[in-house]
């Protein structure tokens, strides 16, 4: 960034940035410190942990690379094509990211599993042959979702939507005037890629890859259930085992240090690779980005179609599976749904305020604080908070507020990553004008910041709310006095043979997360209609 961190960007956000960053950092580091202190003695790893670290790293890197690679053509197709139902497709395609992991896994299994749709279709094919000789004992070709390929498939399924949305925002942030200029200069598609799209991707992709990498770094249920066995052990699983099964806090602490170290290095690498695009400001004209015609139109349609199928089929399976039991859900499930909505709304609010405040400041280290929560296991956070709070209060009475706080901090990295590119562009484009006109404080926020960032703020709030809805949270360690949240109820139902009710409750959870997300997103997009 060429711009100096001068006072011109100071809105109401900037002043609060350092205290907010300190607060977030201490919310992560204090519980970690508590776990360390309690562990007594040096943190140490167990024999299989080296393998777990290696598997975690490479599957996270592969998942991030695949998600980003596939997201580019999909987002580009969505950015430059207009068709009936485009808005709905964009919103719906965002849904997988909002799914609670365990629900997503069930949906994927319904499509790609042994009894899934894909294998049903493949079973219609003739039996496999070797050297042209049909082999009846082999049967028709089939796919297996269990194994490393399943882990990658699930991670791409969960994260592709987020990357597509981040890239789509990137494409939309290129002023239409630049595309117009490119057209009147007679640039072909290759030149447009070189001069407009590549710089944008250079600015947005590293951040997107970083987010996916970090999400997959703490992957756990996906890796184990679909990984097919202990070869797919991740750091997070090892932490789960250390905290809840062996109560070996020294090992949990050691694994947390490894996680934080990986996170900090990833942030550092992404920070070096990412460059601001610097297109300058446009006139905010609402025009279609002109897309090339001919065969490229068909290719775009293909990408959109395949991505929509891939993302929506498992979602449809979740809906079909849950619908029959929906009417049988007892009142307690609906009460839990209410509790979850309240928790999600408050934590989304907190996360967006904190994310905005941190994104608006030019102080660089603040960004690291914002990413820190993603690096630490929620389980270790919960354990640490328990150790800190237990001596002073009855922890169960605070379970819901603690859940809100933990959920807000876990959502913060996503929110921050979503807002920061647009905040930087805003600063680059309007900072000087703002300074020249002497617009400061609240009026700067109201006249410049809010209208420009409203779209991304709405989207970020929706993501934060949905993440919080689906989170099992600290409830694993201690349930709340004021009752369970919806994900807890789903796991209780699954644990007492009620698989149909569990599927229905999961559908309710998905429906509510999605509604909450759509509501926030709509508020944001209302700005540009």
């Amino acid at each position: 960034m060429a711009q100096r961190p001068v006072a011109i960007a100071r809105g109401p956000g900037t002043r609060g940035a350092v205290p907010v960053a300190v607060l977030v950092a201490s919310l992560v580091l204090l519980p970690l410190a508590a776990v360390f202190l309690r562990a007594g003695g040096w943190p140490r790893l167990a024999p299989g942990d080296g393998q777990a670290v290696w598997f975690t790293l490479w599957q996270a890197a592969a998942s991030a690379a695949l998600s980003c690679l596939l997201a580019v053509p999909v987002a580009r197709a969505l950015a430059r094509r207009r068709f009936v139902g485009r808005g709905a497709v964009i919103v719906l395609m965002g849904a997988p990211f909002l799914l609670p992991v365990i629900v997503a896994v069930m949906g994927l299994i319904a499509v790609f599993g042994q009894q899934g749709v894909v294998n049903d279709l493949l079973s219609l094919l003739p039996v496999r042959s070797i050297d042209g000789v049909p082999q009846p004992q082999l049967g028709p070709p089939s796919v297996s979702i269990y194994g490393v390929q399943g882990v990658l498939l699930a991670h791409v399924f969960l994260n592709l939507p987020l990357v597509v949305r981040m890239l789509l925002a990137g494409w939309q942030a290129i002023p239409v005037e630049r595309f117009r200029l490119a057209q009147s200069l007679g640039m072909g598609p290759q030149a447009v890629i070189r001069h407009l799209e590549r710089p944008m991707l250079r600015a947005v992709l590293p951040g997107a890859a970083l987010v996916v990498f970090m999400v997959c770094l703490s992957s756990f249920a996906v890796a184990l259930t679909l990984g097919g066995g202990p070869g797919a052990t991740t750091i997070e699983l090892a932490i789960y085992q250390a905290v809840l099964f062996d109560v070996d806090l020294a090992r949990a602490a050691a694994l947390s240090v490894v996680q934080v170290a990986l996170c900090v290095s990833a942030v550092a690498v992404a920070g070096r690779v990412s460059l601001p695009a610097g297109f300058g400001a446009g006139l905010d004209r609402r025009c279609v980005v002109p897309g090339p015609v001919g065969w490229r139109r068909a290719v775009d349609a293909g990408w959109i179609g395949v991505a929509a199928l891939f993302l929506l089929l498992p979602l449809g399976a979740v809906v079909l599976r849950g619908l029959p039991g929906l009417a049988d859900l007892p009142p307690s499930v609906w009460a839990a749904a209410g509790r979850s909505l309240a928790v999600a709304s408050v934590s989304a609010g907190l996360a967006v305020i904190a994310g905005l405040v941190l994104a608006l400041t030019p102080v660089r280290w603040v960004g690291l604080a914002a990413m820190l929560p993603l690096a630490t296991s929620g389980l270790v956070l919960g354990t640490g908070l328990f150790l800190l709070l237990h001596p002073v209060v009855r922890v169960q009475t605070l379970a819901l507020p603690v859940t809100v706080l933990v959920n807000a901090s876990v959502a913060l990295p996503f929110v921050y990553r979503l807002i920061v590119p647009e905040a930087r562009t805003l600063h680059a484009n309007y900072g000087r004008l703002q300074a020249a006109l002497g617009i400061k404080g609240w009026s700067a926020f109201r006249l410049v910041t809010l209208p420009r960032l409203r779209r991304v703020l709405g989207f970020a709030a929706g993501v934060a709310a949905a993440l919080s809805m689906g989170d099992l949270g600290v409830n694993v360690l201690f349930a709340s006095d004021s009752g369970a949240t919806l994900p807890v109820v789903v796991s209780r139902l699954m644990g007492s043979y009620r698989t149909d009710l569990a599927a229905a409750a999961a559908l309710l959870l998905v429906g509510l997360s999605f509604a909450l997300f759509a509501l926030c997103d709509r508020w944001g997009r209302h700005a540009e209609v």
């Binding site: 009894q115 809840l244 307690s332 309240a342 709304s345 201690f478 006095d481 139902l493 007492s496």
Partner: protein, 327 residues
């Protein structure tokens, strides 16, 4: 948020109204107190005669007690499984139960003076008769399953049933356990974090067999009227598991806690267990089990490792499992 505040306010009012009644705080596992678990019936049953308020507090039992470091508000802890008893005992937080164990009807000797078993069961591979006409008839036969037969199991590092399986195999095969795992490995579709995910995969048709309990068919039979789920019974014996109750030594409700411990062994309590906990009662002769339960096929031979034996084998057995399946 308003509703949360309201709920908090209401519970304050309720608390002050109940201030005169003594409260017995019972720590229980998360599944226990939901309306699909045994908690509500146990609470009503005990409150009917104790002149007290039984309050469950749920969470992960042993981690929570250890993190609380002795400053616990629990009077009684219910649901500690046999595999954590050695560590629970070592904390020194528990007092002797003081009960006469003559009423126990377990298939194994239980000379424990601290932890009272309130239910039991064995691990077993459960299958669906519509998909598997000829189930394996021995643990040995699990090594030679026909091609294409799939099994889902749980991870012994995160799940008690998964741990029970590796101890089961270790007890039957000893030094040959790694060879058993190597033979079973091609049939293991996947390994899940806990029992419920495995069972979900099985009921949705993903796998032919699932590691579960001998009592699992009872749920399908009695709650769903479905007789197609069966446990494969093996002559080598099945691994025994029980859940226990313990009294906290520092309790300030000594008499209530004792009354609860005594109640656990009475028929009134034991009758609740089968249908609410989907496990077998620990102190009730089979003749008095609720309707249908006595007909449940159970293995003739029971394998059981006491906590010292289990602890001695645990690390080695899990490591053998891990390395055999990581190939």
């Amino acid at each position: 948020m308003k509703s949360t505040l309201l709920a908090a306010g209401l519970s304050c009012v309720a608390l002050s109204a109940a201030a005169q009644t003594p409260v017995l705080t019972v720590y229980a596992g998360d599944y226990f107190t939901s309306e699909w678990g045994p908690g509500p019936a146990i609470e009503t049953g005990f409150e009917a005669f104790c002149a007290c308020d039984l309050q469950f507090s749920t969470g992960n039992l042993l981690p929570r007690l250890l993190l609380e470091g002795g400053r616990t508000e629990a009077d009684v802890v219910i649901g500690l499984t046999t595999d954590v008893l050695a560590r629970a005992r070592a904390t020194g937080y528990f007092a002797p139960h003081g009960q006469d164990l003559g009423a126990l009807t377990l298939p194994v000797a239980w000379p424990d003076d601290t932890f009272l078993p309130f239910n039991w069961g064995h691990t077993a591979f459960v299958y669906d008769t519509t998909r598997m006409a000829e189930p394996p008839t021995s643990l040995e036969a699990m090594r030679t399953l026909p091609d294409g037969v799939t099994v889902v199991i749980q991870d012994p590092r995160t799940s008690i049933s998964g741990l029970a399986l590796v101890l089961w195999v270790k007890q039957v095969y000893g030094d040959q356990a790694p060879a058993f795992w190597a033979d079973l490995a091609p049939h293991i579709l996947t390994v899940t974090k806990d029992w419920s995910e495995s069972y979900g995969l099985f009921t949705s048709g993903e796998a032919d067999m699932v590691l579960s309990y001998t009592t699992s068919p009872a749920y399908h039979l009695m709650a769903e009227n479905d007789a197609t789920k069966k446990a494969a019974l093996f002559p080598e014996g099945h691994y025994f598991m029980a859940e226990t109750v313990g009294k906290i030594a520092t309790t300030d409700q000594d008499e209530l806690a004792d009354a609860f411990m005594a109640w656990v062994l009475t028929p009134a309590f034991q009758q609740v267990i089968p249908a609410a906990n989907w496990s077998l009662p620990s102190a009730l002769p089979a003749a008095e089990w609720p309707a249908g339960w006595a007909d449940l096929p159970l293995p003739a031979k029971v394998l059981f490792l006491n906590e010292d034996e289990a602890e001695a084998l645990r690390v080695e057995a899990v490591e053998e499992w891990r390395s055999a399946l990581s190939q």
